[in-house]
Every structure is written in structure tokens, then in C-alpha cells.
Amino acid sequence: MISLRQLAWLSALIVPVSVAQTLTVYTYDSFVSEWGPGPQLETLFEAQCDCDLNFVGSADGVAMLNRLRLEGKKTQADVLLGLDNLILEQAKREQLVQPHGVDTSAVSAHLEWTDAEFVPFDYGYFAWVYDTTRITTPATSFESLIASDARIIYQDPRTSTPGFGLMVWINQLYPDSANHIWKGLAPLTETVSQGWWEGYSLFLNGGADYVLSYTTSPAYHILAESDQRYAAAPFSAGHIAQIEVAAISAQSQQPALASQFLSFLISPEAQAVIPTTNWMLPVIDGVALDPAFDGAAPERTLTVDPLQVLNEKTNWIRAWRSAVAQ
């Protein structure tokens, strides 16, 4: 049986549709799903740009990057949306992006954003999320986590953004003894999952006491499920942020329109959509946030040098692998 949508699709194969201006935005799949920010942002932007906004979803940020690499000069992407501060240097080194020319002065001062090619659109902090009905005194540091008899789940740093974040976080806090922390975490580890959701769903099903996720994860349970059970453990030594970013593709033939979209992304109306659709924090000040997000900003934050991440990641992964594989 062929649905109407498929018929429409089939006819699109035969009849080329020509719209004056189409802005093609490469992003990750959950951004464009019906409950993600994509549909609302599309409506808002198309109302002001007189253009057709076309999202192309990949499985995740890395898959999107690979797609660009394979497409090379043939890519149809105008905008890349959904890389983050930890891998943006890679995209720059491969010359996949061009300067955006967007005024980013509205971006909250504490993010210290000065990048000429990437515009941030949301952020969150990596944290260990736990179930308050099972853990009454949460860990406040990696040392106290290791000293507890809790079971933990984290993601593979080679295949998952939060897993990669954890690796950067540990190496940031313990530049000389990261190995020691990995070895300490190993006996507590229930499993190292490949992706965020495999680990997170295991945790929700009671598979562990802590799971590596974001400080914003509890807000989802509070707002979407009215469930107050989950919280993020605040670490006194500080947390590192994942800042999600967008950029103009190096191959884009309409950088002005792409730039307009990037400006729109950090506008108050777009930023208001993001917290309860992408479950991350807005990058500009003055966006009304539900109190459920109160715990999402940690007391102490750490800054990360993206260039150092790019240069060190292979060594870090090797160190993790040999510490954990024993």
C-alpha cells in the first residue's frame, strides 16, 4: 500500500520542484523529528526569509560530518547544524566551513564566544545523572564516585558525544592521572554503551545507579513526564560544557541567506523554542526558562581548549582503551 506521502514523494521524483531559494540545513535526526526543534524553527524562519528551509537529517553529528566529507564539493548543504565545541576544530581543519559574519554579541558572556566560523545555538553540561529514590547522597567528585559501590554506565568515547565529553572532562580535571580515574571507574562500570540512548535507557530500566548524561536531562523528566525522581550530581571540581554549534558550509552558494539563518538561531524567538524541544539551555540571556532547568547550570564550570582536544584525542582514547580493557 502506498501512502499519500509516498505518492507525493514519487511525484517529486518525476516533477522537479523549483523554489526560488532553498536553504539546505544538514543536522542530526532528533533535531528534525516531530518533537524536536526543527519543525517549529522551520515555521518561524520561513515566515521571515521568503525561502524554503530544507532539513536533511543524519543519524548524529558525526554521521553528518562524514556525509559532508564524502560529498566534498558536491554537497548541497548550506548550513551545518549540530556539531559541538569538542569537534568543531576538526571541521575547521578540513575546511568544511566558512566565516559566518554574524554578530554574536548577544551570546551569554559566560560562554566567551568569539569563533568566526561557528555560532552556538544551545549548550548543556556533562554530568552523572542519578535516581534520587535510590541514591540519597550523590557523589560530588570522581574520587567519591569511585569510593562508592554504585554501578555506573557511560558511553564509548569513540562513538558517542557524551562519552567523548566524559573523556575530555576527566583529562581536563586530571591531566596527569586520568589513567588512575579510568581504572577506578572500571570495576563500577555496568557497561560502556555505544550511544547515549542505549546507556540512558538501560539506566531508566534500573540498569545502573548513575549514567553519564547532561545536567539538563532531569528537566525532561520533570516537564514531559512530571517525574521528579532524577537529578544530576553536581561535582565540586566543575563541569565541562557541550556547546552545540552551527556554521555555513564552505560550498554554500548563498552565504547571505545562511548567515541570516544563523542570526535567527540566536534570536530570542528561536532560542525560546530550544529548551523544551532539544532539552538544552539557550545561549542568550533573558529567555524565560521553566524552574525545572534550575539545576542545569553548575556552580563551577571548566573551559576546554578545542585545539588541545583535537591534538590529544587519539592519545586519550588509547589511554582509556588500555586502562579499561585489562
Binding site: R69, K74, T191, G206, G207
Partner: protein
């Protein structure tokens, strides 16, 4: 001479599969940036990865066969078994079950808070080698049961009767009748299960539990996706294809290359079964039932315990999209597999070795990781066509390629039999191609329905190909499940997974021969 002009035509049928692989390798070679670095072959991590791949595949294979044997015997010897037809449906379903549905079921049962994993400290962890073995046994033991059962069914009733008249002991009967009946099938069956486990992806990905349990397939995935090191991925694939391919070839050389059919019909042996033996058989049968059913029941209970929250329309659209791709892929794969057996059959009687290689070529997509073909195709086509527009045709073609080996394995024993029966007749008659096709068609048509259903269900489980070529606004059911799960909507994901399971069950039920349960 094997390569006379007339003999060239059959080879042409292998062209699609060979061309597809060539395109993939071409694409990867032209898109790679790193040169080939042979150094990693001596890297201890590569060595441990290879060792672990071999170890888990060998163990999975041996366990699946050893556990399947008593079940196949129980099915053979017991004239009356409650729910035999349902059991056979269950074995087919278990073999084609999307692995993430199985994994979800196993988690619910044996995960850290699993229903069956209680006590302090918890006796079991699902992650690591034991979890991988459990899942592999679940997925492959049912196949072994069906093949061994089928083999035992081929023993003539007279043999059974004679064994009773001569009062053979159990051991004698095993060594004189049962083992000779299953022996020609064991080599290929073991090779087939070994290759499936050696190339297993989702199970190892989810249940491996970390870098300790990495397989070659997983290393290829990591090289392709996260390091974007196409050269390394190619080299690893070559290693993987050489190992898996040699295992298949060796199985072909060693045995009589007996391929198996998966559809099974029951024929009673006519043997009387002692009370003690009957009890043993019934016990084995009951345990097998519980083992195969438990994960499915677990997923059902979990999915239904939260009330329905699914949105009907996206779910139906996704199901429609899945069916569109899977039905088309199965429709392409079945005739393609049939055609691709032509050269192997052509040389069967005269050039056995050439026939074996021809068969290997028809099967070779079984040993190449789907992701490697997918990425290679993407790299090749991206500069030549508009991939977004060609999404559905590309998905259909690639899914069909993945299905072809299964079609070949299923059709070959039938067609070989047909050739044996008709070779002389056809030699005199020399019918034209169209007549020949028509005669063959009437012969294999009863097999086509189950074959089509099996191929269809296998294609429904595809994730890696859709991830590359799919359109995110036209998700398939599996993709939709991943999307739900990836956005915190885990209960809905379980419900959608249940829907997939039901759809697969219906198709499998439809595939089983109706008259199998008459007695």
C-alpha cells in the same frame, strides 16, 4: 571448456553482485585520504580484536549446535508434541528477529534489575562474552534446530523400523542412522552460523560492554564512522571477508556442499518411544519453548505496561515505508538469487570447483559488512547522482543485495534436486529459456512464498543502510524506533518495537506450511 561462448551467459547473472562490490570498493578507494597503513596489523589491539572475534564466533557456533541437537531429536522422535507448528513458527521468528528487539527482551530479563537476575550480589551480568553468547545462541540455535530436524526427517521410515527390529541401542542408532543423516549438513550449518556470529554487529555493539569485547565488525564500524579512516576500514574488511569467506569455501569443499532448507514439515518416524525418553524429549521441548518465548513475552509486557502513548499516524507511515522498501527488496532479491545460481548449476556436474567458486560469488555479500558496501556506494554515487532523490531505489537495491545470499542458500538445494531429476530429460528436449523458466517456476513456486516472507522480515530490520541513504522525513519503522528511543521516549519505542515484532510474527506465521501440523 568452462569459458566457451555459451558458458559466458550464466556468468552474466553474477554481474549485479560483483558490480555492486566493485562499486563499493571503488567508492571507498576514491574517497579515502589516508594511505594504507599495514602497521595496525601488529597493534596488540587489533590482535586482541581478531582473537575475540574468532573466539566468540566459534563458541556461539558450538553452543548453538550442541543445544539444537536435543531439540531437533525431540521434534523428530515424539509423534505428538503440543503446539509443534507454533514452535516451528517461533524458531523462524527467533532467527530473523531484529536484534534490538531481542536485546531489549534480554535486558528486561537479565539486565541489572532483570526479572530473572535477583539476589545480592547479582549473579549475572549481561555484558561481555556471556551476553554475546546468549544472544547469538538465541538467534542461531533455532536455525540449527530446523536444519537438523529437517535432516533427521530425511531418514526413511524403513531405517527407523530396522533399527527397532535389530534392537539397536541409543548409541548405535545415533552412530548408524542419526549422525550419518545430519553429517552432510553439519559442516555448512556450522560455517553459516560461524559467519553470522563472526559478522554480528548489533549484538556485540550493545552487549559487548566495552573495548574488552570488540570484534572486527565493530572495529570496521568505528574506523568508518568515528575515525573516517576508509583505508583502515577497507583493510579490516578484507581481513574479515578473507576469514569468513574461507570458512564458507572450506565448508563447501569439505562436505557435499549440502545446503539446507528452512521450511520444515513433520513426518513421524514410527518409532515407539520409552516413557523415560519421552519425558526427556518433552522436557527439552518445554525448555526450548520457554527459552525462545521469554524475551518476546518480556518485551510485550514492558511495552503494554505503560498504556498506549503511540501516535498512530507516524507509526503507520513508518510501517508503510518499511513495507515499501522491504517488499521491493524481497521482490528484487528472490529472482536475483534464483538467477545467480545459474552458473553454479551450469558447472555442477562437469566442473565442481568452478561451480563452487560461482556459488561463492553468489554468496559473497554475506561476508562483506553491510556498512562497507553502504559507505562505498555512497562515496561512489554522491558525485554522480542526486542521492536524496534516489533514496528509495538505492535502499531497495542495497537491501536486496544483502538478502541475495539467503535466497541463494534457500533455493539451491531445491534447484540442485531439480537439475538431478531433469538433466537428462532437458538434454534431449533442449527447451528454450522461457520454457525452462516456466518449468522451474512451477517446481519452486511452493518455496517462494516462505522465502519471500523470510527475506521480507530480514529487510524490515535494516538500520545501517537507512542511516546512510534514508530520508529523515520518511522514516522506516526501525528508524522510527531508534528516533523515539533517542529522544527519551523509551516506552513508545518499546511499543513500536512490539509492533515490528507482531508484523514479523504475522509474516512468519504466513510463511510456515499450513499442513505441517495435521498430525
Amino acid at each position: 571448456m568452462a569459458f566457451s561462448r555459451r558458458a559466458v551467459i550464466p556468468w552474466l547473472t553474477l554481474l549485479p553482485a560483483v558490480l555492486a562490490s566493485t562499486i563499493a570498493v571503488w567508492g571507498l578507494l576514491s574517497a579515502r585520504r589516508e594511505s594504507f597503513d599495514l602497521g595496525f596489523f601488529t597493534d596488540p589491539y587489533f590482535v586482541s580484536t581478531l582473537t575475540f572475534s574468532l573466539k566468540q564466533a566459534a563458541l556461539s557456533c558450538v553452543l548453538a549446535l550442541l543445544l539444537a541437537l536435543p531439540v531437533a531429536r525431540a521434534l523428530t522422535f515424539m509423534p505428538q508434541l503440543f503446539g509443534r507448528r507454533w514452535f516451528m513458527t517461533l524458531t523462524a521468528l527467533a532467527f530473523v528477529m531484529p536484534s534490538f528487539v531481542l536485546i531489549t527482551g534480554l535486558m528486561i530479563l537479565l539486565g541489572a534489575n532483570g526479572w530473572l537476575n535477583f539476589g545480592d550480589p547479582r549473579p549475572w551480568s549481561l555484558f561481555g562474552l556471556q551476553g554475546i553468547l546468549l544472544a547469538h545462541v538465541y538467534l542461531n540455535m533455532p536455525l540449527a534446530v530446523r536444519v537438523l530436524y529437517q535432516a533427521l526427517q530425511s531418514v526413511p521410515q524403513d531405517s527407523w523400523r530396522l533399527s527397532q527390529q535389530h534392537r539397536l541401542t541409543g548409541w548405535q542408532r545415533w552412530s548408524h542412522i542419526e549422525w550419518p543423516a545430519i553429517k552432510p549438513h553439519v559442516g555448512l550449518l556450522a560455517a553459516f552460523i560461524f559467519v553470522l556470529c563472526f559478522n554480528s554487529f548489533a549484538v556485540v555493539l550493545t552487549l559487548g560492554g566495552g573495548p574488552k569485547s570488540t570484534t572486527l565488525e565493530l572495529a570496521i564500524y568505528q574506523a568508518l564512522k568515528y575515525d573516517f579512516n576508509l583505508s583502515e576500514a577497507l583493510l579490516l574488511s578484507v581481513v574479515q571477508a578473507v576469514i569468513a569467506g574461507s570458512v564458507l569455501l572450506a565448508a563447501g569443499y569439505s562436505g557435499k556442499s549440502s545446503l539446507f532448507r528452512i521450511a520444515v514439515q513433520h513426518r513421524p518416524t514410527g518409532l515407539a518411544v520409552s516413557v523415560a525418553n519421552a519425558l526427556g524429549h518433552r522436557l527439552v521441548y518445554a525448555v526450548a519453548w520457554v527459552f525462545l518465548l521469554l524475551p518476546i513475552v518480556a518485551v510485550m509486557i514492558k511495552a503494554l505496561s505503560h498504556g498506549t502513548q503511540l501516535q498512530g499516524i507516524p507509526l503507520l507511515a513508518a510501517t508503510g515505508q518499511s513495507l515499501l522498501i522491504a517488499v521491493s527488496a524481497a521482490l528484487v532479491a528472490v529472482p536475483l538469487g534464483w538467477l545467480m545460481l545459474w552458473p553454479a548449476r551450469h558447472f555442477q556436474g562437469t566442473h565442481a570447483r568452478i561451480a563452487l567458486w560461482a556459488e561463492w560469488l553468489a554468496l559473497h555479500h554475506m561476508v562483506i559488512p553491510t556498512l562497507v558496501i553502504g559507505v562505498g556506494w555512497f562515496a561512489f554515487w554522491v558525485s554522480r547522482i542526486d542521492i536524496n532523490r534516489a533514496s528509495i531505489p538505492l535502499l531497495v537495491m542495497l537491501n536486496a543485495l544483502v538478502l541475495v545470499p539467503f535466497v541463494v542458500l534457500q533455493l539451491k538445494p531445491l534447484l540442485v534436486l531439480w537439475d538431478q531429476q531433469h538433466r537428462r530429460l532437458l538434454g534431449n528436449w533442449r527447451p528454450n529459456l522461457w520454457h525452462r523458466f516456466f518449468i522451474e517456476w512451477t517446481f519452486i513456486v511452493p518455496t517462494l512464498k516462505p522465502l519471500f516472507a523470510l527475506a521480507l522480515v530480514l529487510a524490515l530490520g535494516d538500520v545501517p543502510l537507512f542511516a546512510l541513504f534514508g530520508q529523515s522525513d520518511q522514516p522506516t519503522l526501525t528508524w522510527y524506533i531508534y528516533r523515539l528511543a533517542g529522544s527519551y521516549r523509551l516506552d513508545q519505542a518499546a511499543q513500536a518495537a512490539l509492533m515490528l515484532l507482531l508484523l514479523s510474527s504475522l509474516l512468519i506465521y504466513w510463511m510456515e506450511p499450513r499442513h505441517a501440523n495435521r498430525r
